[in-house]
């Protein structure tokens, strides 16, 4: 269970948001929406522990999540704006780091996003949508219960979005939590919605 209590975040001198509170139970999902620059990405990075909140607390199962920032990282699978794909490595090699950390097989993760046939191709040959799918497959290699997704379906075709909906459902059925920032509808049934302004 993820709880935010009165969270406030500054970026430089500017207050991005303050007094933010919500709870997402195990198996739950939260969809963040709001105009550009409203702080969706900042909130996701705060939940990941990459940005320290200026005030308020972040709780994981009732205990302070950010007391051990590195340990909190193990609970988090983060998909940012960028795909973190190295063009010089092959598709499979791009996943090797994530696979070593979690000891999960690369092949299963690749076939779940439909990239298994491209696994030996240099990642620079991939299209934007394929790179996004490669980044999505990292979520499956992680054992983390908390998925933080920044525009996860950006550049995906409708088939891939459907398949991604299946992955989200599996993760939630296993007790995982999804927090996603998006402008387009996501395949996340009965997700709580939070609008930032």
């Amino acid at each position: 269970m993820l709880t935010a209590e009165d969270v406030a975040v500054f970026r430089g001198e500017k207050l991005v948001f303050s007094g933010f509170s919500f709870t997402v139970p195990s198996g739950g999902a939260l969809v963040l929406s709001g105009p550009n620059g409203s702080g969706k990405s900042t909130l996701l990075r705060t939940l990941a522990g990459l940005i320290r909140p200026a005030a308020g607390r972040l709780l994981w199962d009732g205990a302070d999540a950010l007391a051990d920032v590195a340990g909190h990282g193990r609970r988090v699978a983060y998909l940012g704006h960028q795909d973190a794909v190295k063009p010089g490595l092959t598709v499979a090699e791009n996943l090797r780091f994530a696979a070593t950390v979690s000891r999960r097989p690369i092949a299963t993760a690749l076939s779940a996003v439909g990239l298994q046939e491209l696994s030996d191709l240099p990642a620079r040959m991939l299209s934007a949508g394929q790179k996004r799918r490669l980044a999505l497959s990292r979520l499956l290699l992680s054992a983390a219960p908390l998925w933080l997704l920044d525009e996860p379906t950006l550049g995906l075709d409708t088939g891939s979005v459907e398949r991604f909906g299946g992955l989200l459902a599996t993760h939630r059925a296993a007790g995982g939590i999804v927090v996603a920032a998006t402008h387009v509808p996501l395949p996340l049934p009965d997700a709580a919605a939070l609008r930032l302004s």
Partner: protein
């Protein structure tokens, strides 16, 4: 610990793929060192006298070359976020990065240093001390360089800022490293200089990764 090796092997694999960068650093070292005989003249006495200094200064400058990309590429493509979320504390990430910088830059320089020293007519009895000093010194350069690279990370004109920040920090390394080789070439014991280098290494080994880790955390904020 598994994550530490994962970061290290990931970086080594990336360096292997971009082998030209590694080679460029090595060639930079050899080419700049070979400029000195052209500029000063090939007289063995003069050249041999200043050879330890030349090798050290060129090695110092060569280790600066790959520093800007050490974290820069990972910051730009978002990999740095994932590294910091891997469960390894930020100083562990920084230590792995420093180790990869040393393996990819320091070790090749160490291997090339002896032939370059011979080319510069350095007295043979100074070469073991030069290499021993460089062995300690190159680790120090990688550690200080990693700390510097993480601090300028995300700054505008970081590539210009980086040498200005790192070079003053590593002057003690240069002084005692070159002095060790100089002493040995002149028939004196290089031991005190090498011990001072080792002492610096003992202090930098825990402190530089800590500083670099804090720099990384600040850079992704």
């Amino acid at each position: 610990m598994r994550v530490f090796w994962a970061v290290l092997s990931r970086d080594l694999r990336l360096s292997l793929r971009h082998g030209a960068d590694t080679l460029a650093t090595l060639l930079f070292f050899v080419v700049t060192a070979s400029l000195f005989p052209l500029a000063i003249g090939p007289a063995p006495d003069t050249l041999g006298r200043i050879a330890p200094g030349i090798v050290w200064v060129c090695a110092l400058l060569a280790t600066l070359l790959p520093l800007e990309r050490l974290f820069g590429a990972d910051l730009e493509d978002g990999s740095l976020d994932l590294l910091l979320l891997s469960g390894l504390p930020a100083f562990g990430i920084a230590a792995a990065k420093a180790a990869s910088h040393w393996l990819v830059t320091g070790v090749p320089l160490l291997l090339a240093a002896a032939p370059v020293a011979v080319m510069l007519r350095m007295p043979e009895n100074g070469i073991p001390a030069l290499l021993l000093g460089l062995l300690l010194g190159s680790v120090l350069l990688s550690l200080f360089g990693t700390a510097g690279a993480s601090i300028v990370l995300g700054a505008r004109r970081g590539a210009v800022l980086l040498p200005l920040l790192v070079l003053p920090l590593v002057t003690p390394v240069l002084i005692f490293g070159a002095a060790a080789a100089d002493a040995a070439a002149g028939g004196l014991s290089p031991r005190p200089h090498l011990l001072l280098l080792a002492a610096m290494l003992a202090a930098a080994l825990p402190l530089c990764p800590l500083a670099a880790g804090a720099g990384l955390r600040a850079a992704v904020e």
